[in-house]
Amino acid sequence: MSMLAIADDALIAAQRLLAWVSRAPSMEEDVALANIALDQLGVARALLSAIGDEDALAFGREAHEFRNCLLVELPDDPGGGVWGDFGVLTVKLLFLSAYQKLLYDRLADGEPGVLKDVAGKARKESAYHLDHATRWTLRLGDGTAESHARAQDAVDALWPYTHEFDRRADWLAVVEPVLAKATLTRPADGWAPTGGREGRHTEHLSYLLAEMQSTHRAHPGATW
């Protein structure tokens, strides 16, 4: 895992999350999702700044130069609209934060340096993200028939993308019990799309970047 990949995961996750603010199922959730987005943005900024100019990296790269995993770039609304599916959001956050927590734990206990410093703070944040996503997964999975079906659809749709995470056994050990407790079926492994770490993304990323970079790119050389 390169530092850039870790930063890009956080940046793209933040960009998806913050689109929810003012659109969440409750005001408390608006606050919570903004908070999680801020945490992700914080990690992205700390790491990108260690690599180079954070804004040049965020706003100056093209899609094939990003190294985030495919999961984070998937839209919460498969139709590409701004109104996402809360089931997709929840399951994606569960999968991502379980992965990030394990990663940050390892880095925080690892060799001194920027990654260790950033991970030391981020591990606590991702523990909260995981807890938040777990609570919602339980509510949706073990809530109503409709919420169960929507959560299961999200799990089925997103599962293939989790093969891009390294140390899958550790990740499964975190996620499988949550799914079980939420009465959700753990999908069979099969299709395992990859490419994000090498810059081969889905068609969704370039749209996300087009929007994210639009103001910056419209004013070359400007200071903000």
């Binding site: 940046l11 960009q15 913050l18 689109a19 603010v21 003012s22 659109r23 969440a24 199922p25 409750s26 005001m27 408390e28 608006d30 606050v31 903004a34 908070n35 987005a37 801020l38 943005l41 914080g42 992205a44 900024r45 990108l48 954070e54 804004d55 965020a58 706003f59 109104w83 809360f86 339980l138 509510r139 949706l140 073990d142 809530g143 109503t144 409709e146 919420s147 929507r150 929007e211 994210m212 639009s214 103001t215 910056h216 419209a218 004013h219 050389g221 400007a222 200071t223 903000w224």
Partner: protein, 308 residues
Amino acid sequence: MTAGTDAQAYFDELIATDQRVEPRDWMPDAYRATLIRQIAQHAHSEIIGMQPEANWLTRAPSLARKAILLAKVQDEAGHGLYLYAAAETLGVTRDELVDALLQQRHKYSSIFNYPTLSWADVGTIGWLVDGAAIVNQVPLTRCSYGPYARAMIRICKEESFHQRQGYDVLYTLSHGTDAQQKMAQESVDRWWYPSLAMFGPPDKDSTHSERSMAWGIKRHSNDDLRQRFVDLCVPQAEVLGVTLPDPDLRWNAERGHYDFTPPDFAELMAVVAGNGPANRDRMRHRRRAHDQHQWVRDAAAAYAEKNP
């Protein structure tokens, strides 16, 4: 609660001596109703007010500005929650108030019915809209109703932080490239008069005002606050290097204030009545956030019942 003579006298005494009325105290029904209306409208404004700024979250031009804007919009959600809680001390539920908003029985601040059309609007909203809100709200930190007054102390502190951030966005733009300067000016041109209109109709047309003054809910007249705001803005605009779009704006040494062109109150009334540029979009957005997540709230309720 019925008004005993003692209770009324105690209430009158609190008001007269500028002390705080607390939830446990008896209060006149009209006082309670006025406060509920005002606090709820304020809470609704925070919630609807997230939209125009959230509109630029995905497109903020730097990561630092993105984080600041995100934290600000999050604060607004927090203010909304805080104010709904203050209103609940008066014996209503948040659900009732939210319903009143969604059914359009309640209003919210008309300023949020204007669209945010450029990144500069994030700066201008911070500078002018939050600036006007602070001028409006600082007196409310001394409001006679304790929970509201205390909420306003915290909110004003954060708003003033937001105002400085907005000013800083605009300052950077107005000292940036030609295109950035134009963006800043174009934005100020659009927001100046709507900001002036935030202080409400002129005193001569203002309903409710006198009674609210007597009750210590309102402390200054609309026109006084508007003048105070203009007096604050003019020197700031000079530092910013933007032109306020009012050819008749000039210092009046006799009055010790700036003379200025008042906003078009007919436009204000049209916006209040529902015909601003973005009223429909704002309400559609709010309703959609509420309606399309009924299944989520149902799931949470069902789960809570199964897992008490």
